[in-house]
């Protein structure tokens, strides 16, 4: 992958997203710009219907914007889904999207195995390493996805997303549906993987704890644009009705205690 180390991982330029619903047209994004630098953990936040998940899907090339350009790792997002895509970007879907017909180990090994190049023993070992790196015991390898708890499904899905060590990891609601305990340990896991694997992480989340605990940058979607993309401290201080409701409500106050040196206006 020939690209300068300082080049942004994701660059979104003048993006328009329009949904057609019969005669009616709904503009979701209008001239949206967003640049994500290497090594950041960016949280996309916004009210419901502001197109956070759509933006994530567009970065993956699963959906095509009406206008504008998305460049991921120096190439157009539409080119992502080619051979070996798992080595460029990993995606953790909200429900895990594990293949229900495969065991845990086969799920994790699937992207490598499908390339039909490496020997089976090596693939198995690589998958076992990733399985244990996400904090699962080796004997979970032969389980079926239907036998796993919600937290384990997320961990297996994360291991599968990381099997080819992609530089970019996208997460859709990584802690939704997890109890506070598993949610905390999942955050800790993400943080340690982010450090040890030099990942750039983009996530969509509503969970204030996750936002404050993990993200180095927060991008707020409102009025069909990214209204601010900055450190959590600066975002919280930004004056906008959505930010006010979202971060400075009662829950926000509680979560913000996590933030070092936060300007908590009481």
């Amino acid at each position: 992958m020939a690209m300068a180390p300082s080049a942004p991982v994701v660059q979104i330029d003048k993006l328009w997203t329009v949904f057609h619903n019969g005669e009616k047209q709904t503009v979701i994004h209008k001239d949206l710009d967003l640049t994500i630098e290497r090594g950041q953990i960016v949280s996309l936040v916004g009210g419901s219907g502001t197109g956070k998940t759509v933006l994530l899907r567009q970065m993956l090339g699963l959906e095509t914007p009406a206008r504008g350009e998305i460049t991921v790792l120096g190439r157009p997002a539409a080119e992502l889904g080619k051979r070996g895509a798992a080595s460029r970007v990993g995606m953790l879907f909200q429900q895990g999207a594990l293949f229900s017909a495969f065991t845990v180990l086969e799920n994790i090994a699937f992207p490598l195995r499908e390339l039909k190049c490496l020997p089976a023993a090596l693939i198995r070992e690589a998958a076992m390493v990733k399985l244990q790196m996400v904090g699962l015991p080796p004997d979970a390898a032969e389980k079926m996805p239907s036998d796993l708890s919600g937290g384990m499904v997320k961990r297996v899905a994360l291991a599968r997303a990381l099997i080819m060590d992609p530089p970019l990891l996208l997460l859709d609601e990584p802690t939704a549906g997890l109890d506070p305990d598993s949610s905390d340990s999942f955050c800790a896991l993400l943080r340690s993987l982010h450090q040890s694997m030099c990942l750039t992480v983009v996530m969509v989340t509503h969970d204030l704890d996750t936002i404050f605990e993990l993200s180095t940058r927060v991008a707020v979607l409102a009025q069909q644009k990214v209204i601010i993309h900055d450190t959590p401290q600066k975002v919280v201080a930004f004056d906008h009705p959505f930010i006010h409701d979202f971060f400075l409500g009662e829950r926000g106050q509680r979560a913000m205690a996590l933030l070092p040196g936060s300007p908590v206006p009481l």
């Binding site: 080595s87 090596l122 990733k130």
Partner: protein, 380 residues
């Protein structure tokens, strides 16, 4: 894309003090999974590990690597046969990665020994499974009886809207396909029979053969098989999806009986629709047969229609109708049975639907044979 300088490489220098191995390029998953690159690297590694040599011997320099990821580290670790080399020059992150690989590389589990009793266990398991199906079907049938009694006592509480919806979906929307298949089978059958009958000059008997075989056997069975494929699978899929999405549990929590609300309307609808569809298919097949008989043997339609009542006794119609009601009931019950047994995952849903169609078609043919034996003296 692989470029020249990012290809994973190994440079070996043999000096009197010992061997120095320098790794270069990007040892990453993206590179290693390119077949040509992988083949080249394995060849290099093989040359390095000459017979008798310790693969991890010598001085290893990893600091010159462009990039190392977990797959590359795994390849290296496996080459070292899970032992650290004697001398290693390495960046701290690379060491951390290799330490992770060391910690997490486990031996594959030994395959479980297959005991001598395994075939017996499998056989027993199958028998129990079969017994479970029989029990489930029986329970469903009993529940259906109770539900029908409840409906008779309180007809106002019945799920009538469901019933009419199912009548439409199982019956009205199946008219085209059953008519087409019936008509074509009638044409083919009449044409083949006419070829044989002409040799004996027994042209007029085509009415008897077609009449008896289509009205008594083929019409009901053909219709039942088509409906089993169409509606039996739909029933299983509908109920199975309700299981996967926890709708069945939601109904149970609300105190709504699934037998009364899900199974009964489908069973009633299908046992009502089946004789009608069967009559419809039979009529289409007779029309096809009539047409082919006219074209192939000059048996006029008016003769055909006049001769039909004499050739086929009314008891055949009664038998065909009774048979169809049973077929409809069985298809609906088998569909519901497999639907309710679906486990909450998508794979089980697919298996359940397949099993439902195969079982209902088999059962239709078995029951038809049973009818043929039991009523061999009726109507012929």
């Amino acid at each position: 894309m692989p470029t020249e300088d990012s290809l994973p490489r190994i440079d070996v220098q043999d000096t009197p003090e010992g061997r120095t191995v320098r790794l270069a390029g990007a040892w990453t998953a993206a590179q290693l999974t390119v077949p040509a690159v992988w083949a080249a690297l394995t060849a290099q590694l093989k040359r390095l590990g000459a017979p008798g040599a310790v693969p991890s011997a010598g001085q290893w320099h990893l600091a010159g690597l462009d990039k190392l990821d977990y797959l590359g580290a795994q390849v290296l670790w496996n080459h070292w046969r899970h032992r650290w080399p004697e001398a290693l020059e390495i960046e701290p992150e690379q060491r951390a990665m290799l330490e992770n690989v060391e910690k997490f590389t486990v031996a594959p589990p030994a395959p479980p020994p297959s005991p001598w009793s395994e075939p017996l266990v499998v056989l027993g398991g199958r028998l129990l499974n079969l017994l479970g199906h029989a029990k489930g079907l029986l329970r469903l049938l009993g529940q259906l009886l109770l539900d029908v009694l409840r409906l008779l006592r309180h007809p106002a509480q019945g799920p009538w809207r469901d019933l009419s919806g199912h009548l439409y979906h199982f019956g009205a929307t199946a008219l085209h396909i059953t008519a087409l298949v019936g008509f074509l089978i009638g044409v083919v059958l009449a044409y083949l029979i006419s070829q044989q009958l002409r040799q004996f000059g027994a042209d007029a008997f085509i009415v008897n053969i077609l009449g008896i075989s289509l009205i008594r056997e083929l019409g009901p069975v053909l219709a039942a098989i088509l409906i089993a494929g169409r509606s039996g699978s739909a029933i299983t899929a509908q109920i199975g999806v309700m299981r996967v999405t926890e709708e069945l549990d939601a109904m149970r929590v609300m105190g709504i009986a699934k037998g009364f609300r899900l199974v009964m309307p489908r069973a009633l609808a299908l046992s009502l629709v089946m004789p009608l569809i069967s009559a419809w298919t039979t009529i289409a097949a007779l029309l096809g047969g009539m047409l082919a008989a006219y074209v192939a043997m000059d048996v006029t339609p008016s003769f055909f229609i006049n001769a039909l009542p004499a050739a086929v006794k009314v008891s055949n119609l009664v038998l065909a109708t009774a048979k169809s009601v049973v077929f409809g009931l069985l298809i609906a019950l088998i569909g519901c049975h497999y639907g309710l047994r679906v486990k909450p995952n998508t794979e089980s849903l697919g298996q359940g639907t397949t099993a439902s169609v195969v079982t209902s078609i088999t059962v239709v043919i078995l029951v038809d044979a049973l009818f043929a034996v039991l009523f061999r003296n009726v109507g012929i």
